[in-house]
Amino acid sequence: MYFMDQQALKNYVISACEINQVSLDDAQTARVLMHLSRTQLIAQRLIDYPFSDEDELVEIYKIVE
């Protein structure tokens, strides 16, 4: 299981906010960082899930009647 350290995650938050043109102050950045850290823990369960090649999102390719 891989977890990005807090400084790396903070750097990511700052850069990604810039890409998305959202300006956050330090307190806002810290709160977003906290939420993203928690979500990273939650996401890890899905990242570790043994998906097969057939588990694609086929609904996207279905022709709408």
Binding site: V22, S23, L24, R31, V32, L36, T39, L46, F51, V58
Partner: protein
Amino acid sequence: MTKRSFRDSIEERIFDIQVRDKSVNAFTTLSLERARSESDELDQLSRSGSKLPPLAGVPYAVKNLFDIEGVTTVAGSKVLQKNLPASRDAVLINRLKSAGAILLGALNMDEFAYGFTTENSHYGATHNPHKIGYMSGGSSGGSAAAVAAEMVPLSLGSDTNGSIRVPASFCGVWGLKPTFGRLSRAGAYPFVDSIDHVGHFSKTVDLLSLSYDCMQGPDESDRSCIVTSVEPTLGAINEGLKGLRIGVLGGYFEENSGAVAKLALDKVAKALNARDLVTWPNAELARAAAFIITASEGGARHLQHLKESYSDLEPLSVDRFMSGVLQPVSWYIKAQKFRKIYRSQVFELFKHWDLLLAPCTPVQSQTIGSEWIDINENKMPARASIGILTQPISFAGCPVVAAPVWPMGTENLPLGIQLIAAPWREDVALKAAKYLENVGVSKTISIKAV
């Protein structure tokens, strides 16, 4: 004896709302002129001797994410206040109007439906009518509280992760979250396109069923609404439980239910003669996937608001929206892939069961402002954990009736039980609900004073 006019009844209702809502804070908009006009139309119809529609004179109100013609749809926010008023009613409002129901206004909610408590910083918190100062639940808190406080017997809400079932549980009213794709969402401000459901609350099971029947039907304006016909439920609602295979969800659901929730579940399980413990597949992973999809889709939808008006957004949810924007797309795709597998697993389960039971909430309503809840001696963050038992169910799209139960007696707060049926089998959940109401195990109660 002269029959009371619809207009007189609605005037009395308006008076009640104006008195009771001072302490509850369920309404954000009152549509008084519209209500008077709709009641006058019904009086005219009545005088002409014409047959009255099935919901003639039933007052109702809607979560303020539904479009009401002439009213700005705010979805619990401040930033949408500057939008133009809606040019037409949401489809469900249209259908209720055709059925003779009278619209009284719009109801409070968590901003953009991202919350389980209706602690709204812009419009104030909606209080639980059974105990002022306590949470109504959310995000459709105004809708549940308005019914519990007997301001209206019927209200509309929406449910992405539990937003009908949680407030129904806290406020002690009936709620129905139908199958994903059953009712039209057209004219309802979206939160999470791939999980949003619309549904309703009511004072009785008969009204829950009848109003559901009136709202059903295909709708070309909502591509998620995939039904092709109406499947009425009211006619068969009294058929009882014969032949129904009913189980109780154990494992994850048992571990995340507090003592009072277990007591409520036990009462319902006994009444329905449900003895077998059933394991719902991958509930914890489903909650994780629902959490990620909710944050991603919700964040993406509100990116422009985050760019332009961060400080005008709800402090309780704005940072979660932003975190959602920043989630790597691989997380979102894995969550959607998992959903497909998960739905197959859940549908398989319903080959063996017709109805499954679980509490709606791990605990009863908490004091407004509570940061933590205690579930079996585990301290958990309140706002996220209140939906721990609803999130996995809606992620599979199953229909659920939230049944109000008073596990510690009617002098104490209620706690709802989820009656979960297979996709497209709302009729089964409603039959069980009617049975529970008939035997007195599940019911709404009158509020003495609010």
